[in-house]
């Protein structure tokens, strides 16, 4: 006779685990950091604008913000007198991930002390809502918007010295829809695809986002329905606007590639904790995210439309998760809601096309 321990549950487990998923996302973010170094550092320096400091600026930003996030979390747990060692912060709480996101989504001209404040806000918003797995709003979005919206007067604009020279200080007016105004002043649509356009520190490369979207869907790490339906909705709405206002098809591609929309769709909206759980919720969430982004982009004159819409989407998520429970097994109501969403798409397209100015 031999004694054994007792353990309840399933005795065979999938290899995939949460750390794996989170660190895959972190590795993908490293590519974005490399891109940020190229876009904001190497490229302007080659063209003869700025100095070598620009090359290291993105990486300094990322290091500072993730260090601040880890430090904030560490101090928070000391104050709360919960015994969490450093291992916990890396392996179970993933303290640095919001920091990296904050650094990548702010403007290149942000002063470092603002970045520190933003990282602290991001980390605190995560901790005060209950720590990893319990927060309702993406902490990175909170931190980034905190800097981007409240202190927008301090962070100037999104342009690095090289772009400043091209644009000649003219800040873009989103409401005047013409190829010359929106696209040609920064190059062509390929520049938009590869990300060599004004925008936040490291999010403008749509090409990188598309590759990571494919990779993450293949690896089953993200909820694929959210980005796909987000993108589809944006395409549909801009297509309707194109038809109504007789704009060229470039407008659809421009809407997809500008403003870090794909980065938001692939990496920020799919943040597992703050996005809808059920399939129904994911589809609805993606569609509403698309509608909100387009409405904010053309009706409200701010530059953080993707982040702001993700913030609203996180709030809608709470409602969607509630609806998922209440509407379980009620197919008819789900169909009605879907039809309403399609109508909302069309309606928002009409509203936007009334507001915009074309030449």
């Amino acid at each position: 006779m031999r004694e054994f321990k007792v353990r309840k549950g399933v005795y065979i487990k999938d290899n995939n685990n949460t750390s794996n998923m989170m660190y895959t996302i972190l590795v993908i973010l490293v590519f974005y950091i490399l891109f940020a170094i190229y876009k904001n550092g190497i490229h302007p320096v080659i063209k003869g604008y700025g100095n070598l400091y620009l090359v290291f600026k993105p990486i300094i930003y990322v290091l500072i913000s993730s260090a601040i996030c880890i430090l904030t979390e560490y101090i928070f747990y000391i104050i709360k007198k919960e015994k969490k060692n450093i291992y916990y912060l890396f392996e179970k709480s993933y303290a640095m991930i919001p920091g990296v996101f904050v650094a990548l989504t702010i403007s290149i001209n942000t002063p470092i002390y603002l970045l520190v404040i933003g990282s602290i806000v991001a980390s605190l918003s995560k901790l005060l809502m209950g720590g990893f797995g319990k927060y309702k709003i993406n902490p990175a979005v909170v931190g980034s918007l905190f800097i981007g919206l409240i202190f927008s007067f301090l962070s100037n604009n999104y342009l690095n010295p090289y772009e400043m020279e091209i644009v000649n200080g003219n800040i873009l007016n989103q409401n005047i829809i013409s190829y010359e105004n929106l696209v040609a002043s920064y190059g062509n649509l390929f520049d938009f695809l590869f990300g060599n356009v004004p925008g936040a520190l490291g999010v403008t490369s749509s090409f990188l986002s598309i590759i990571s979207l494919i990779f993450l869907i293949y690896k089953r790490i993200i909820k694929w329905r959210i980005p796909i339906f987000y993108i589809l909705t944006v395409v549909v709405i801009s297509m309707i606007i194109c038809i109504i206002r007789d704009i060229g098809l470039w407008f659809i591609i421009y809407n997809l590639l500008s403003g870090g929309l794909l980065f938001g769709a692939v990496l920020m909206a799919t943040e597992p904790v703050t996005s809808p759980v059920s399939i129904f919720g994911q589809v609805l969430g993606g569609v509403s995210l698309g509608i909100i982004t387009m409405l904010i982009r053309y009706l409200i004159p701010i530059q953080n439309e993707v982040l702001l819409s993700i913030l609203i989407f996180n709030m809608i998520t709470i409602l969607l998760n509630y609806l998922t429970i209440k509407l379980y097994d009620k197919k008819n109501i789900k169909i009605i809601i879907n039809i309403v969403m399609i109508l909302l798409c069309v309606l928002s397209a009409f509203i936007i096309s009334k507001e915009i100015i074309t030449y």
């Binding site: 004694e3 054994f4 353990r7 399933v10 999938d14 794996n20 797995g133 597992p272 059920s278 399939i279």
Partner: protein, 417 residues
């Protein structure tokens, strides 16, 4: 559509069946894993012949037979598959394998009428044509049965007892199925086989030509295709709940028991179990007497490997139970014994990735059920009692949460209400 999952299991076992049929003591527990209580019919010191009824539950017509001959020793309690300690009747084996002489001679097989056949089944201890926990109510008394489905899929990844039975006894099994069809007046039998199990398919194909009423259907190697509802959907594309009276589901071990019953007029005395896992030196399929202690069997096949934190599991890797000692009675519903290392990761908070919902074969929302564990109003909407306890949610969970246990708790809460 739920996502299809294939669970790989590394330790492959050969198709041979070894035998260990000489236990010193045979234990007959007075309660089974489903909680039915049995009354013992023998007293201390009685001589028990092989095949005698030792304990029975008259209400449900369940019988447990002695698998050896020898003197009965009353008293003593041992653990059964679900970890409960149960009082047992113990029989000391005298290795003579004596049958009672007054036992009625077997008939020429085809002369059994349906009633006689069913009675014989019950008296042999085959009270349900499916030997698993997931089995439904006994339904073979219905008339007008259209299909007999033989579930030859392994009920869980890692097991290979039914495969090896088919491989070694294909002809007997087909013959028995044919006879059952004749006696029960069923027009068609279908053997559901795993599509990757080429060896068994080849063996069956060799003999199947002579049995026009039996056909083989290959089922994809996807867990949990072996659960009744899903199997019927997969094989016949019908909803099992609607056609419950028309479809009879059985499995290979039971068919083999029926074969022994028809051929030798012998009740259930032996079964094939798989002994596997990292902690076992010689992983194999082995035929044992029902009532043998697992420790005795394992010690007879070279014993354990050294592990840091071993777990002893009765049943397969998904639906099995971890028990506290290896002195477990092998009852007729034990199909596998595993000894594995307890190196499972600690669970993290749920990150709401939605994977459990994607894979759930009955399309419930395990994550929502877990979140609303204390909210009975919401639980009633979410219907946790649809759960078939396949364990896929716990398997897939990246945070290594035991989702199934939570759903099970919720299920009990809803059932009470």
């Amino acid at each position: 559509m739920s996502r299809k999952i294939r669970i790989e299991y590394k330790n492959k076992i050969s198709y041979n069946i070894e035998k260990y049929l000489k236990p010193e003591l045979v234990y007959i527990p007075l309660e089974d894993t489903q909680g039915n209580i049995y009354k013992h019919l023998v007293k201390e010191g009685d001589y028990v012949y092989k095949g005698d009824i030792v304990a029975s539950n008259e209400k449900l017509n369940l019988h447990v037979h002695s698998s050896v001959s020898g003197y009965a020793v009353c008293g003593g309690s041992k653990i059964i598959g679900n970890g409960k300690k149960i009082k047992c009747v113990i029989i000391e084996n005298d290795y003579k394998e004596k049958f009672r002489k007054s036992i009625p001679k077997k008939k020429v097989n085809n002369l059994y009428s349906k009633e006689e056949f069913l009675n014989l089944l019950k008296n042999s201890g085959i009270n349900n044509l499916n030997d698993k926990k997931t089995s439904s109510d006994i339904n073979y008394e219905e008339d007008n049965i259209k299909y007999l489905i033989i579930n030859a899929l392994e009920c869980e990844p890692g097991l290979s007892s039914s495969k090896s039975l088919i491989y070694n006894h294909a002809e007997d099994i087909l013959e028995t199925i044919d006879k059952t069809l004749d006696i029960m007046n069923i027009p068609k039998a279908i053997i559901a086989l795993n599509e990757n199990d080429n060896k068994s398919i080849n063996v069956l194909n060799k003999y199947i030509g002579t049995y026009p009423n039996i056909s083989i259907i290959k089922v994809a190697d996807i867990y949990p295709n072996e659960y009744e509802d899903i199997l019927v959907k997969e094989v016949l594309n019908l909803d099992y709940n609607k056609y419950k009276e028309k479809i009879l589901i059985s499995n290979i071990q039971v068919v083999y028991w029926v074969y022994e019953m028809l051929e030798y007029n012998r009740p259930i005395t032996e079964r094939v179990i798989t002994i596997t896992g990292k902690g076992i030196k010689n992983r194999k399929n082995i035929k044992v007497k029902i009532g043998t202690l697992a420790s005795e069997v394992i010690n007879n096949i070279d014993g354990y490997k050294k592990l840091k934190n071993p777990l002893f599991i009765v049943g397969g890797p998904v639906t099995g139970n971890s028990v506290q000692t290896d002195d477990v009675i092998i009852t007729k519903d034990v199909n596998c014994i595993m000894v594995i290392e307890d190196n499972f990761e600690r669970s993290l908070p749920c990150i709401k990735c939605g994977k459990c919902m994607e894979v759930c074969p009955v399309k419930i929302l395990p994550n929502m059920i877990m979140e609303n564990k204390d909210n009975i109003k919401n639980l009633n909407i979410l219907k946790p009692n649809k759960c078939i306890e396949c364990g896929l949610c716990s398997y897939i969970c990246p945070s290594k949460i035991e989702v199934r246990e939570c759903v099970r708790e919720a299920k009990e809460k809803v059932d009470i209400k």
